[in-house]
Protein backbone atom coordinates (compact mmCIF):
# COMPACT_ATOMS: atom_id res chain seq x y z
CA UNK A 1 0.00 0.00 0.00
CA UNK A 2 1.22 3.44 -0.82
CA UNK A 3 0.94 6.51 1.35
CA UNK A 4 0.56 8.75 -1.67
CA UNK A 5 -2.59 7.04 -2.93
CA UNK A 6 -4.66 6.98 0.23
CA UNK A 7 -8.38 7.34 -0.17
CA UNK A 8 -9.71 10.64 1.21
CA UNK A 9 -12.50 8.81 3.06
CA UNK A 10 -11.50 8.73 6.72
CA UNK A 11 -13.21 7.93 9.98
CA UNK A 12 -13.67 10.00 13.12
CA UNK A 13 -10.71 8.95 15.32
CA UNK A 14 -12.90 9.27 18.43
CA UNK A 15 -15.11 6.38 17.25
CA UNK A 16 -12.53 3.60 17.80
CA UNK A 17 -11.48 5.21 21.09
CA UNK A 18 -15.08 5.13 22.29
CA UNK A 19 -15.29 1.46 21.29
CA UNK A 20 -12.00 0.70 23.05
CA UNK A 21 -13.49 2.25 26.20
CA UNK A 22 -16.42 -0.18 26.13
CA UNK A 23 -14.05 -3.07 25.42
CA UNK A 24 -11.76 -1.99 28.26
CA UNK A 25 -14.59 -1.94 30.81
CA UNK A 26 -15.84 -5.35 29.63
CA UNK A 27 -12.31 -6.77 29.89
CA UNK A 28 -11.96 -5.40 33.41
CA UNK A 29 -15.24 -7.12 34.35
CA UNK A 30 -13.92 -10.32 32.72
CA UNK A 31 -10.76 -10.17 34.81
CA UNK A 32 -12.70 -9.47 38.01
CA UNK A 33 -15.06 -12.40 37.40
CA UNK A 34 -12.29 -14.66 36.08
CA UNK A 35 -9.88 -14.14 38.99
CA UNK A 36 -12.26 -15.95 41.32
CA UNK A 37 -11.87 -19.21 39.41
CA UNK A 38 -8.53 -18.59 37.68
CA UNK A 39 -6.33 -20.82 39.83
CA UNK A 40 -8.50 -23.94 39.90
CA UNK A 41 -8.95 -26.15 36.86
CA UNK A 42 -12.55 -27.30 36.49
CA UNK A 43 -13.61 -30.01 34.00
CA UNK A 44 -13.89 -28.80 30.39
CA UNK A 45 -17.70 -28.83 30.32
CA UNK A 46 -17.72 -26.59 33.39
CA UNK A 47 -14.94 -24.31 32.12
CA UNK A 48 -16.83 -23.70 28.88
CA UNK A 49 -19.81 -22.17 30.67
CA UNK A 50 -17.98 -20.07 33.28
CA UNK A 51 -19.14 -16.42 33.10
CA UNK A 52 -15.64 -15.04 32.54
CA UNK A 53 -15.13 -17.42 29.63
CA UNK A 54 -18.47 -16.52 28.03
CA UNK A 55 -17.65 -12.82 28.42
CA UNK A 56 -14.21 -13.17 26.84
CA UNK A 57 -15.68 -15.30 24.05
CA UNK A 58 -18.18 -12.50 23.31
CA UNK A 59 -15.42 -9.86 23.38
CA UNK A 60 -13.37 -12.06 21.02
CA UNK A 61 -16.32 -12.29 18.64
CA UNK A 62 -16.67 -8.49 18.58
CA UNK A 63 -12.92 -8.12 17.94
CA UNK A 64 -13.30 -10.57 15.04
CA UNK A 65 -16.16 -8.50 13.68
CA UNK A 66 -14.05 -5.33 13.76
CA UNK A 67 -10.96 -7.05 12.36
CA UNK A 68 -12.60 -8.89 9.46
CA UNK A 69 -15.55 -6.68 8.55
CA UNK A 70 -13.47 -3.52 9.06
CA UNK A 71 -13.68 -0.82 11.70
CA UNK A 72 -16.30 1.08 9.67
CA UNK A 73 -18.81 -1.74 10.29
CA UNK A 74 -17.94 -2.24 13.97
CA UNK A 75 -21.03 -2.42 16.22
CA UNK A 76 -19.56 0.02 18.77
CA UNK A 77 -18.83 2.34 15.85
CA UNK A 78 -22.54 2.34 14.96
CA UNK A 79 -23.33 3.12 18.60
CA UNK A 80 -20.84 6.01 18.48
CA UNK A 81 -22.35 7.41 15.31
CA UNK A 82 -25.91 7.12 16.62
CA UNK A 83 -25.44 8.37 20.19
CA UNK A 84 -22.14 10.21 20.68
CA UNK A 85 -21.09 11.73 17.36
CA UNK A 86 -24.13 14.08 17.04
CA UNK A 87 -23.24 15.65 20.41
CA UNK A 88 -19.62 16.41 19.49
CA UNK A 89 -17.87 19.05 17.43
CA UNK A 90 -16.56 17.83 14.07
CA UNK A 91 -13.17 16.08 14.46
CA UNK A 92 -9.96 18.07 13.93
CA UNK A 93 -8.77 15.47 11.42
CA UNK A 94 -9.92 12.18 9.99
CA UNK A 95 -8.09 8.92 10.55
CA UNK A 96 -7.58 6.20 7.98
CA UNK A 97 -9.59 3.06 8.76
CA UNK A 98 -6.58 0.68 8.50
CA UNK A 99 -4.90 1.41 11.87
CA UNK A 100 -7.97 0.78 14.08
CA UNK A 101 -8.89 -2.26 11.98
CA UNK A 102 -5.38 -3.60 12.57
CA UNK A 103 -5.79 -2.87 16.28
CA UNK A 104 -8.96 -4.99 16.26
CA UNK A 105 -6.98 -7.83 14.70
CA UNK A 106 -4.31 -7.60 17.41
CA UNK A 107 -7.07 -7.53 20.04
CA UNK A 108 -8.67 -10.56 18.43
CA UNK A 109 -5.40 -12.54 18.45
CA UNK A 110 -4.77 -11.76 22.14
CA UNK A 111 -8.32 -12.56 23.27
CA UNK A 112 -8.59 -15.72 21.15
CA UNK A 113 -5.36 -16.87 22.82
CA UNK A 114 -7.10 -16.37 26.17
CA UNK A 115 -10.10 -18.39 24.99
CA UNK A 116 -7.83 -21.21 23.78
CA UNK A 117 -5.71 -21.26 26.96
CA UNK A 118 -8.84 -21.42 29.08
CA UNK A 119 -10.27 -24.33 27.09
CA UNK A 120 -6.90 -26.11 27.40
CA UNK A 121 -7.17 -25.67 31.17
CA UNK A 122 -4.16 -23.39 31.66
CA UNK A 123 -4.48 -21.63 35.04
CA UNK A 124 -4.64 -17.82 34.70
CA UNK A 125 -4.56 -18.13 30.88
CA UNK A 126 -7.87 -16.35 30.50
CA UNK A 127 -7.20 -13.49 32.91
CA UNK A 128 -3.63 -13.11 31.62
CA UNK A 129 -4.78 -12.58 28.04
CA UNK A 130 -7.63 -10.37 29.21
CA UNK A 131 -5.13 -8.24 31.18
CA UNK A 132 -2.93 -7.74 28.09
CA UNK A 133 -5.96 -6.86 26.00
CA UNK A 134 -7.19 -4.51 28.74
CA UNK A 135 -3.91 -2.56 28.82
CA UNK A 136 -4.04 -2.15 25.03
CA UNK A 137 -7.71 -1.10 25.08
CA UNK A 138 -7.11 1.33 27.96
CA UNK A 139 -4.14 2.97 26.21
CA UNK A 140 -6.18 3.24 23.03
CA UNK A 141 -9.20 4.72 24.73
CA UNK A 142 -7.61 7.09 27.23
CA UNK A 143 -4.38 8.10 25.48
CA UNK A 144 -5.20 7.44 21.82
CA UNK A 145 -2.20 5.10 21.61
CA UNK A 146 -2.61 2.22 19.16
CA UNK A 147 -0.27 -0.40 20.64
CA UNK A 148 -0.60 -2.78 17.70
CA UNK A 149 0.26 0.03 15.29
CA UNK A 150 3.41 0.91 17.25
CA UNK A 151 4.40 -2.75 17.18
CA UNK A 152 3.93 -2.81 13.43
CA UNK A 153 6.56 -0.09 12.90
CA UNK A 154 8.97 -2.01 15.13
CA UNK A 155 8.40 -5.18 13.11
CA UNK A 156 9.15 -3.34 9.86
CA UNK A 157 12.32 -1.93 11.37
CA UNK A 158 13.35 -5.40 12.54
CA UNK A 159 12.69 -6.48 8.92
CA UNK A 160 10.19 -9.11 10.09
CA UNK A 161 7.54 -7.46 7.91
CA UNK A 162 8.44 -6.61 4.34
CA UNK A 163 6.53 -4.82 1.68
CA UNK A 164 4.25 -7.18 -0.22
Amino acid sequence: MSTSSKSPAGIDPRGPRFGAGITGVLLLVTIAVGLGTAASVAPLAERAVQPAFLLLAAITAVFAWGAFAGIARHPYGSLFRALIRPRLEPPAYLEEPEPPTFAQLVGFLVSVAGVALHLLGVPYGLVGAAAVAFIAAFLNSVFGLCLGCEMYALLVRAKIIRSA
Binding site: I135, G148, R157, I161
Partner: protein, 152 residues
Amino acid sequence: MDALQIALVLAALVAVATLAGFAWQNTQGSVSRRALSSLPPDVPPSLVDHSAVITLLQFSGPFCSYCAAMRGVLGAEASSSEGLVAHREIDITEYPELTSALKVSQTPTTFLVTRSGHIVSRIHGAAKPPVVAEEVHQALTTRKAQSDEYLI
Protein backbone atom coordinates in the same frame (compact mmCIF):
# COMPACT_ATOMS: atom_id res chain seq x y z
CA MET B 1 -9.11 -14.92 45.49
CA ASP B 2 -11.22 -12.67 47.69
CA ALA B 3 -12.85 -9.43 46.65
CA LEU B 4 -10.11 -7.22 48.11
CA GLN B 5 -7.35 -9.04 46.24
CA ILE B 6 -9.34 -8.82 43.00
CA ALA B 7 -9.86 -5.09 43.52
CA LEU B 8 -6.11 -4.68 44.10
CA VAL B 9 -5.28 -6.53 40.88
CA LEU B 10 -7.69 -4.35 38.90
CA ALA B 11 -6.30 -1.17 40.45
CA ALA B 12 -2.74 -2.31 39.67
CA LEU B 13 -3.68 -2.96 36.03
CA VAL B 14 -5.22 0.49 35.65
CA ALA B 15 -2.18 2.07 37.34
CA VAL B 16 0.32 0.26 35.08
CA ALA B 17 -1.64 1.20 31.95
CA THR B 18 -1.88 4.84 33.09
CA LEU B 19 1.88 5.07 33.73
CA ALA B 20 2.61 3.48 30.35
CA GLY B 21 0.26 5.96 28.71
CA PHE B 22 1.94 8.99 30.28
CA ALA B 23 5.37 7.60 29.38
CA TRP B 24 4.28 7.28 25.76
CA GLN B 25 2.62 10.70 25.76
CA ASN B 26 5.88 12.30 26.91
CA THR B 27 7.73 10.96 23.89
CA GLN B 28 5.12 12.25 21.43
CA GLY B 29 6.36 15.31 19.61
CA SER B 30 9.73 15.27 21.38
CA VAL B 31 12.68 16.42 19.33
CA SER B 32 16.27 15.23 19.21
CA ARG B 33 19.06 17.18 17.57
CA ARG B 34 22.01 15.18 18.82
CA ALA B 35 23.98 12.42 17.10
CA LEU B 36 22.27 12.92 13.79
CA SER B 37 24.16 12.31 10.61
CA SER B 38 23.13 12.36 6.98
CA LEU B 39 20.85 10.33 4.82
CA PRO B 40 22.67 7.40 3.19
CA PRO B 41 24.09 8.33 -0.22
CA ASP B 42 21.85 5.85 -2.04
CA VAL B 43 18.67 7.65 -1.00
CA PRO B 44 16.60 8.55 -4.07
CA PRO B 45 16.56 12.29 -4.77
CA SER B 46 12.76 12.25 -4.70
CA LEU B 47 12.92 12.10 -0.88
CA VAL B 48 14.58 15.50 -0.56
CA ASP B 49 13.31 18.57 -2.36
CA HIS B 50 16.42 20.26 -3.75
CA SER B 51 14.65 23.52 -4.39
CA ALA B 52 13.81 23.93 -0.69
CA VAL B 53 16.23 24.74 2.13
CA ILE B 54 14.68 22.20 4.49
CA THR B 55 12.68 19.08 3.65
CA LEU B 56 10.34 17.64 6.26
CA LEU B 57 10.74 13.93 5.56
CA GLN B 58 7.87 12.07 7.22
CA PHE B 59 8.01 8.31 7.74
CA SER B 60 4.51 6.87 7.76
CA GLY B 61 3.19 3.34 7.83
CA PRO B 62 0.13 1.45 6.71
CA PHE B 63 -1.06 1.15 10.33
CA CYS B 64 -0.45 4.57 11.81
CA SER B 65 -3.01 6.47 13.84
CA TYR B 66 -1.46 9.94 13.71
CA CYS B 67 0.21 9.97 10.29
CA ALA B 68 -2.78 11.71 8.73
CA ALA B 69 -2.76 14.36 11.48
CA MET B 70 1.00 14.85 11.09
CA ARG B 71 0.61 15.08 7.31
CA GLY B 72 -1.73 18.03 7.84
CA VAL B 73 0.63 19.77 10.28
CA LEU B 74 3.72 19.33 8.10
CA GLY B 75 1.86 20.18 4.90
CA ALA B 76 0.60 23.43 6.42
CA GLU B 77 4.13 24.29 7.58
CA ALA B 78 5.51 23.67 4.09
CA SER B 79 2.83 25.65 2.27
CA SER B 80 3.22 28.67 4.58
CA SER B 81 7.01 28.78 4.12
CA GLU B 82 7.11 30.38 0.65
CA GLY B 83 9.14 27.54 -0.83
CA LEU B 84 11.80 27.39 1.89
CA VAL B 85 10.35 24.19 3.34
CA ALA B 86 9.09 21.11 1.53
CA HIS B 87 7.17 18.11 2.82
CA ARG B 88 7.80 14.53 1.70
CA GLU B 89 6.06 11.44 3.07
CA ILE B 90 7.24 7.87 2.60
CA ASP B 91 5.96 4.47 3.66
CA ILE B 92 8.27 2.48 5.95
CA THR B 93 7.33 -0.76 4.17
CA GLU B 94 8.60 0.70 0.89
CA TYR B 95 11.89 1.83 2.45
CA PRO B 96 12.79 -0.93 4.95
CA GLU B 97 16.55 -0.33 4.57
CA LEU B 98 16.24 3.38 5.24
CA THR B 99 13.82 2.69 8.10
CA SER B 100 16.31 0.49 9.93
CA ALA B 101 19.32 2.62 8.97
CA LEU B 102 17.68 5.64 10.61
CA LYS B 103 16.32 3.52 13.49
CA VAL B 104 12.74 4.55 12.83
CA SER B 105 10.68 2.53 15.27
CA GLN B 106 7.50 4.54 15.43
CA THR B 107 5.27 6.21 12.88
CA PRO B 108 5.09 9.05 12.25
CA THR B 109 8.76 9.98 12.57
CA THR B 110 9.88 13.17 10.87
CA PHE B 111 13.38 14.26 9.89
CA LEU B 112 14.35 17.81 9.03
CA VAL B 113 16.77 17.32 6.16
CA THR B 114 18.90 19.89 4.36
CA ARG B 115 19.32 20.07 0.59
CA SER B 116 22.54 18.03 0.84
CA GLY B 117 20.87 15.28 2.89
CA HIS B 118 22.16 16.31 6.29
CA ILE B 119 19.70 15.54 9.08
CA VAL B 120 19.17 18.54 11.32
CA SER B 121 16.66 17.12 13.76
CA ARG B 122 14.22 14.34 14.36
CA ILE B 123 10.65 14.64 15.62
CA HIS B 124 9.34 11.55 17.40
CA GLY B 125 5.69 10.76 16.80
CA ALA B 126 3.00 13.34 16.19
CA ALA B 127 3.87 16.93 17.05
CA LYS B 128 1.77 20.03 17.47
CA PRO B 129 2.18 22.85 14.90
CA PRO B 130 4.20 25.16 17.24
CA VAL B 131 6.79 22.41 17.83
CA VAL B 132 7.25 21.91 14.09
CA ALA B 133 7.34 25.66 13.46
CA GLU B 134 10.03 26.11 16.13
CA GLU B 135 12.18 23.30 14.68
CA VAL B 136 11.86 24.71 11.18
CA HIS B 137 12.71 28.20 12.44
CA GLN B 138 15.80 26.85 14.25
CA ALA B 139 16.93 24.93 11.19
CA LEU B 140 16.43 27.84 8.82
CA THR B 141 18.26 30.25 11.17
CA THR B 142 21.20 27.85 11.45
CA ARG B 143 21.32 27.37 7.67
CA LYS B 144 21.19 31.12 7.15
CA ALA B 145 24.06 31.69 9.62
CA GLN B 146 26.15 29.02 7.92
CA SER B 147 25.61 30.39 4.43
CA ASP B 148 26.46 33.89 5.70
CA GLU B 149 29.75 32.47 6.98
CA TYR B 150 30.56 31.18 3.52
CA LEU B 151 29.94 34.64 2.09
CA ILE B 152 32.42 36.22 4.53
